[in-house]
Subunit: 475 residues, 2 copies
């Protein structure tokens, strides 16, 4: 990260945490240059960046000021209690009913699970695929089955190292996206009827995976900012014979929560004490808005009990279907199950990504991507603050591209979803995100489509629908 | 197929079935030209082709003669009785032990499941991938999840049509190779503990799939030439609550058997009467040596009960991981399960194959591939006849690239496998191909590596090992 970016991040954080308040004047370029011992041009660049992010604004002949928000930012939702009781899962039907619509391009995709494909370097990737396939040794097509391309596994291991954790290439199994990795982990760790601890709320695909394997879910409470509630986890583990946990410590879907490092360390310790494996879904980690990639829980794992699942789909190559798991002591078992279930991961995709990583453009692309996503998140948050009814609460995640919105009163999100759909807007109603469908007045909104000019208007429309529903409730 | 190829096939068949005997003189070019009403050049070309296939030879100034075999061709193995009793499956460990070695390039790959990658048009395919990705609409990366690329599904539907069966593009789901398709079918049709009817012997991956899902197998008897024994199937269905059948009517792995059309029709009728779905693994069908692609059982299905699984891995694009199932009434369910298990199939692979098919080179490639494989099969059969001990029996499949060899006496194929491995030769011992490991004196040999100069010597070495084991038995 360049010095000016670092400076911008620091000052941005002061704006976010209120040390610098709306309307307040920022110190002059000369002052900052002197106090920080950086060149004036570094300060200028940092201020330009903060301006681009919508956090500060220049006033002619007066200097830079913290942007006056057009509306008071919304409070965050409260912590989520957990059902803390085992239950069978049957959410799939609802998920398909609701998301069956979510792939039509004429909808504003606020309910989508995907960021805009325009954010990814698909043209350079295509060149990489072509180049890699031209020089491919044909024997690789029958020899690189499972665990997958050795070169790519080494490159992934290097990225772990660069991010501060240490993973050996031999424990990595390349999969058909993270989704396959997560399913294989679940399969290796559980038998039908077993209990798996999940977060409340949690990603509906995790619920579907449990349902598909005939597993029972036991929910653990979460905090929308800091993720898994360890007291709740301890209570659950004391009460139930949990076979595995499936958590997202970094930028959880749908909360966007980020577990602090210390909490991750403790999570790993709690589970290690009981010998319970953790399936760590970490597909959004590269989309951090802070200074560093947050460590995975895997970084604290000393017993090979954390099965860390990653993917290039959210950060580089949507549609290529390249994910992986660094599965610790379960790596051999997972590689076998991969062989049995889908034999191998597509070689053109593996080779293309491997070539792209070798070309060295990945980190530059990621910086750009994070910048774009964080700016757009701020924009969508402002729009929500402006248009949604009073009492609305919303998360402010430090990465990823989801917002978790709590609607006031008892607005039914499924009802809102249906009304929104009639206005060509998709949303993901909270009912999808727990086994007992109890997040009924929540929405997950996608803020990963910065190029979509319809989004401000769509937020406004959603706000109107929410207001009308709230009034209906009040009557 | 060109006229001369047709003629060559007809005369080749006469050699194979003994109408034309070894050493017998073939009719002159003029005679054939007159009787068949084809040009002399067509006859010449047919004779050249038969000569290339090793079936006939030119003798200077005397004309063409049926090749005198250096050794009497081996008899075919007898029909296989079935266990015809339900049993749990636990063959995986053995499969991994035995085949763990099978991917090392320094082995002669007679135990491999793959044909030589040199047989496939990987360079034109690479160009197709590059071209397709350059013009790819980025939105396809998030919209083409399941059931997969519509263009590709239409192209596959057209190929069904051209081959004489009718499948609607809407019932096709693209998968990560046929292996995923087969697993998804199994998942859609069964619950753990259920009974599935399979062939004896059958492909070990089918056994592994059953094992993985906790299913029980009930074996149906087969004939090494004509496949599933319908009387045995009827007996099995009368006795057991079979939830699904998993058969390979075309060029079964490992038998190479081909069910005659009438038998396929009857198979479908038997199952339709009882409402039992058929998972039809048909990945070798394009590798036929006869005149036409054999029809799938699916062609006779009127109730949507046949889930036909195909792939480009064996015929065009190894390593690309593009397969599919035309799943009849189960298509919607399979598409959902695909979404839940691995979300989507890699787009670069789908798009590349789609572009390649559009370019029109596929059928030309297939003609060449079939020709090469049939010639090499004849060569390997001659080598087996020459080098293996008396009493050896071997199949002569009309397509695919497997031979199923029955060793004389009670030679243990696992023992032979171990001795062969010490000579840098892999084989697939018969124990892998049934739930109760009873094909203990059988081998599956791969004859899909025509470019491997070591294969004749390897067959000779195998023959020597077999002889020494037979003598050991006799003592």
């Amino acid at each position: 990260m360049k010095r000016y970016e670092q400076l911008a991040d620091e000052m941005g954080e002061q704006v976010r945490n209120g040390s610098l308040r709306a309307g307040e004047r920022l110190p002059s370029v000369r002052e900052v240059s002197a106090s920080r011992r950086v060149s004036p041009s570094t300060v200028f660049k940092a201020y330009y960046l903060l301006e681009a992010r919508g956090l500060i604004e220049a006033r002619p002949r007066s200097g830079y000021f913290v942007t006056a928000r057009t509306a008071k930012p919304r409070a965050e939702p409260a912590a989520n209690a957990a059902a803390e009781q085992a239950q069978s899962v049957a959410v799939s039907e609802l998920v398909f009913q609701v998301l069956g619509h979510a792939r039509q391009q004429d909808l504003v995709p606020l309910g989508s699970a995907f960021a805009s494909p325009a954010l990814f370097p698909l043209a350079p990737l295509a060149r990489s695929v072509g180049r890699a396939l031209r020089r491919l040794d044909p024997w690789r097509t029958v020899e690189d089955l499972s665990p997958g391309s050795e070169t790519l596994r080494r490159q992934i291991a290097l990225r772990y190292l660069a991010a501060g954790s240490s993973v050996d290439a031999t424990e990595i199994v390349i999969t058909n996206g993270a989704m396959e990795a997560l399913n294989l982990c679940l399969e290796a760790l559980t038998q039908p009827g077993d209990l798996v601890a999940i977060e409340a709320p949690c990603f509906y695909a995790a619920l579907q995976a449990l349902e598909r394997r005939g597993l029972r879910a036991v929910e653990v409470a979460t905090n929308p900012r800091s993720g898994v509630d360890l007291a709740s986890l301890r209570a659950v583990l004391a009460r139930y014979p949990v076979k595995a946990c499936w958590f997202m410590p970094n930028f959880q879907n749908p909360l966007g929560s980020l577990m602090p490092e210390e909490r991750k360390r403790e999570l790993v310790a709690i589970l290690a004490e009981r010998g319970i494996p953790l399936i760590e879904d970490d597909v959004y980690a590269e989309l951090y808005f802070g200074r560093h990639r947050p460590l995975p829980a895997k970084a604290f794992d000393q017993r090979g009990l954390v099965l860390h699942c990653g993917s290039f789909s959210k950060s580089l190559a949507p549609g290529y279907r390249v994910g992986w798991t660094a599965a610790g002591r379960f790596a051999g078992e997972i590689a076998r199950r991969k062989l049995m279930s889908s034999l191998a991961t597509a070689l053109p995709s593996q080779e293309g990504i491997s070539d792209y990583l070798q070309q060295g453009g990945y980190d530059r692309h990621l910086r750009q991507l994070r910048h774009t996503l964080s700016m757009h998140q701020a924009k969508v948050l402002r729009a929500i603050a402006k248009h949604f009814p009073p009492g609305t609460r919303v998360t402010q995640p430090e990465g990823g591209y989801f917002l978790w919105v709590e609607l006031p009163g008892s607005i039914n999100a499924l009802q809102l979803h249906r009304l929104a759909l009639s206005q060509q807007i998709s949303v993901a109603p909270g009912q999808l995100f727990s086994a007992d469908q109890r997040f009924a007045s929540f929405l997950r909104l996608n803020c990963g489509h910065p190029g979509d000019r319809r989004s401000e208007q769509a937020i406004k429309t959603l706000g109107q629908i929410a207001r009308s529903l709230a009034e209906g409730e009040a009557r």
